[in-house]
């Protein structure tokens, strides 16, 4: 059924089209959007679980547990927000295919990631409860843990791309990876906003 004569009508000659494009043009961008939808749903359900379990208690946090200490979590919030700046630089440098700039900016982001993880260690302690004490402890640890897992995985991803930019061989598609990596990092940072608000302020305000 294929047309026996090949009509090379100019409208469908694609030889002049570029072999790579960034942003919403690229398939990887949509792949990351898919991933973010999945993860976003996951966090939304987790938050719903938090409030569902809260209904079972008259005081929150229950059984005399003090409110979580604000310092480590807030410091982490500030740090993660600040990390958007070097990540923007890496993002833009990636679009312009400037290898050195990507390397430097992502190296900074990797360091920030590790500092954030160190702060996270103190955040778990700031909750003043263990996961196996009651349902409050379980959900709080799970929310912190889930977000931590994301910080770990995207910090490692940053590190991997940093090493790649350093050691090569760099292909153009790695700059689309940088692009996707940045979008994912923004998500990890912005995802922390609601989780931070819930973990630290729901006990105080609700």
């Amino acid at each position: 059924m294929r047309a026996p004569t090949i009509n090379t009508s100019a409208a469908f000659d694609v030889s002049e089209l570029p072999p790579i494009k960034f942003g919403p043009h690229a398939t990887i961008w949509w792949g990351v959007i898919g991933l973010l939808l999945i993860e976003g749903t996951m966090f939304a359900i987790l938050a719903a679980t938090y409030f569902y379990l809260k209904q079972n208690f008259t005081v929150w946090p229950p059984s005399g547990t003090p409110n979580p200490d604000l310092f480590a979590g807030s410091a982490n919030m500030a740090l993660l927000i600040a990390s958007i700046w070097p990540m923007r630089i890496a993002h833009r440098a990636g679009l312009e295919e400037r290898r050195r700039a990507v390397f430097v900016a992502l190296a900074i982001c990797s360091v920030i990631g590790f500092v954030s993880l160190a702060l996270r260690f103190f955040e778990f302690r700031a909750m003043h409860i263990r996961w196996d004490f009651n349902a409050y402890g379980s959900v709080v640890w799970t929310m912190l843990g889930m977000h931590t897992a994301h910080v770990i995985s995207s910090t490692l991803e940053n590190l991997l791309i940093t090493l790649l930019m350093f050691a090569g061989p760099v292909e153009r598609k790695h700059f689309t990876d940088t692009n996707a990596n940045a979008v994912y990092w923004y998500f990890v940072v912005l995802g922390w906003l609601p989780i931070y608000a819930i973990l630290y302020f729901a006990p105080r305000l609700l």
């Binding site: 090949i6 009509n7 469908f12 694609v14 072999p19 043009h25 398939t27 749903t41 009651n134």
Partner: protein, 648 residues
């Protein structure tokens, strides 16, 4: 820009025969034993997927036969109560998680690229990863069953029964981790399909020209994205409650058993539509082809699919009527449950109108469509009956429910699936399936199915509860149960006839040619079986039924590279060509990543260290996956910097 056209070998440099040879070289799957694990091409991977899912269907069917044998007579002693519990749990879980959902997605992964006119899925390696993750999950469940640690708390594993207190041992943990594997694989397939449909469509295939099967796959994929996280989280909570003493579902420490039900049915109800919507997509394609006219009400059908998907998420609570929710809530969900009959009704009217006004070609696939419509109307009726709270309370947890969901699942999904396999067999193998055996197959299936499940309605009304391993003679349930068991054996004969037909036809069936049914979609424009690269030239499309309206010299896309794995990326909305894109080639790393993930998740059944071990292993394999192969494609890719305006 002038140097651009000179890079690499272009299709325009070659004659059709040379182009075929060049593309074969590039798109040929790797050979050999190791090559089998490195394959990243959608047709071979989906074929494995379909085979595996049908294999699990057969295994689940064997368990069903065992259960039916046990129930054939009162006070039968073939199966112990404990084994019976394992059998219905593994049967239900296999059918839902290892057969019905994956098989529909597998058919999608096979045919979506062919129908939208491209050469592979958007993320070939990811697809291979998803396949192996699925296999590991399936093998885990079945090995556990053979080791007598098969899950035994039902396919929805309600707490507290499945909690640490009432289910010690590892059975439920196996179930929970099987969920992790299958749902991850399902999410992967969903992302593949969405991006392939959004970005890899042939020029001219604007959104309002996408074949309905592809629409159905797209809508389903979005449902998967919103539904699967709920059950993954729920099963993770369950596993944690059991392994590290969290208290999500433990009321003594402020946890909540109903939380499980909410999370499970937030997934579980959409799940039914995740199975059913692709099936209606198959039905729409078959109705169109065998009526030999464009389907009536394309837009209405697409909107119905979308409406069904959205309503599907509003319905989960109807599984919990018996839990005593607030009155107003119950009324709301009753209304929503009834509302969902409307889009399904619209689709049925469109199909009937198409069949009515078409020139019917009555072949086996169409018989299965007719069987589907018949059964589905019946199953839908009993479903709407249960949407009413009083009736639901009456038949709750009886065989009436078992009858109902088998009517919906087998009538609504297995009939269209088998029809679809008869329909696409020629495209997949190059040969037709036997028509006479096909008709025999249909009638045995139809009769066996009704014989098995119709009596169950009456059994349920007579009070027979589900999930009981036996019953007393005085109940009077014996005769109908016996009939049902006979029916189950008739059903299995039908499955054997199908397998026989497929086997014989694969070797000696009539040669099919490109388009044996005179169908309209792009999958039928290529030779049968489809070549490794799918399309010699990327096609263009000028209507919803491209092959029926094709111009004598319908333009094709030219200027694609013939020496690398290149596909054409188009705009989301109207599919105008945007750029050419180099796909990833074969690699062992997706398989190794699946294994690393598997080791982590299975270890986590026994110790929480599994999470750490899995994470480390996955990091190593993922690094291998994304690390550049060091092939000198740098210069091929370096051929042009994007114009500044194109930066996102």
């Amino acid at each position: 820009m002038t140097t651009l056209a000179k890079t690499g070998v272009r299709d325009t440099d070659l004659t059709a025969a040379e182009l075929h040879a060049a593309l074969e070289r590039v798109w040929e799957p790797p050979s050999g034993f190791i090559g089998w694990f490195k394959n990243v091409f959608h047709k071979p991977i989906s074929t494995r997927f379909i085979f595996a899912a049908l294999g699990f269907f057969a295994l689940g069917g064997v368990l069903a036969l065992l259960m039916r044998l046990q129930l054939a007579m009162p006070e039968n002693t073939l199966l112990s109560p404990d084994l019976y519990n394992q059998l219905f749990t593994v049967h239900g879980s296999t059918m839902m998680f290892l057969f019905a959902v994956p098989v529909m997605q597998a058919v999608g992964l096979y045919f979506v690229p062919l129908m939208v006119g491209t050469r592979n899925l958007a993320f070939p390696r990811l697809n291979t990863f998803g396949f192996f993750v699925y296999i590991i999950g399936g093998v885990l469940l079945w090995v556990a069953l053979f080791l007598n640690i098969g899950p035994d708390t039902g396919w929805f594993s309600y707490v507290p029964l499945s909690g640490p207190e009432y289910s010690p041992g590892k059975r439920v943990d196996v179930w929970a981790q099987m969920i992790t594997f299958t749902e991850l694989s399902s999410l992967v397939a969903a992302v593949e399909i969405i991006v392939t449909v959004f970005k890899l469509r042939a020029p001219g295939m604007s959104l309002n020209r996408i074949p309905i099967f592809v629409w159905a796959q797209l809508v389903t994929s979005f449902m998967v994205i919103f539904a699967m996280p709920a059950v993954m989280l729920a099963s993770a909570f369950l596993a944690m409650d059991r392994l590290v003493d969290t208290h999500f579902f433990n009321p003594a420490e402020g946890g909540d058993a109903l939380l499980w039900q909410h999370l499970f049915w937030f997934f579980g109800h959409p799940e039914v539509y995740i199975i059913f919507i692709p099936a209606t997509g198959i039905v729409s394609m078959l109705v169109q082809t065998f009526s030999r006219r464009p389907i009536v009400g394309y837009t209405a059908i697409v909107l119905s699919l979308i409406a069904t998907a959205i309503l599907g998420f509003g319905l989960w609570v109807h599984h919990m009527f018996a839990t005593g929710l607030p009155q107003l809530g119950e009324s709301f969900f009753t209304a929503a449950s009834m509302l969902i009959a409307i889009p399904s009704g619209i689709q049925i009217f469109c199909w009937i109108a198409t069949l009515w006004t078409g020139r019917l070609l009555v072949r086996t696939p169409l018989l299965f469509v007719a069987g589907f419509i018949f059964i589905f109307v019946l199953g839908g009726l009993t479903g709407v009956m249960q949407a009413s709270v009083p009736i639901d309370l009456q038949v709750h947890d009886t065989f009436f429910v078992v009858a109902h969901f088998h009517y919906v699942l087998i009538g609504g999904a297995v009939f269209p699936l088998i029809g679809g396999l008869y329909y696409w067999f020629p495209k997949m193998t190059g040969r037709m399936m036997s028509e006479s055996l096909g008709r025999v197959n249909f009638w045995i299936f139809f009769i066996g199915f009704n014989l098995t499940f119709f009596p169950m309605h009456q059994l349920g009304l007579a009070g027979m509860p589900r999930r009981v391993y036996t019953y007393l003679p005085q109940t009077g349930w014996g005769p109908l149960n016996f009939v049902s068991t006979i029916g189950a054996f008739v059903l299995s004969v039908a499955v054997i006839v199908f397998l026989l037909n497929a086997f014989v036809s694969y070797r000696t069936g009539a040669l099919a040619g490109e388009n044996p049914w005179g169908a309209d979609s792009l999958d039928w424009s290529v030779p049968s079986p489809a070549p490794s690269y799918n399309f010699l030239y990327i096609p263009t499309v000028n209507s919803r039924t491209p092959l029926w309206t094709m111009e004598p010299a319908q333009p094709v896309v030219t200027g694609m590279r013939a020496d690398i794995l290149e596909v054409l990326v188009t705009e989301l909305h109207d599919a105008t060509p945007d750029h050419r894109h180099l796909l990833d080639g074969p690699s062992i790393w997706p398989f190794l990543t699946a294994v690393a993930f598997g080791i982590g998740v299975i270890t986590a059944i026994f110790t929480a260290w599994g999470v750490t071990i899995g994470a480390v292993l996955c990091f190593i394999t993922l690094a291998g996956w994304f690390w550049p192969a060091g092939q000198p494609i740098e210069d091929t890719a370096r051929e042009a910097a994007p114009p500044l305006g194109e930066r996102a």
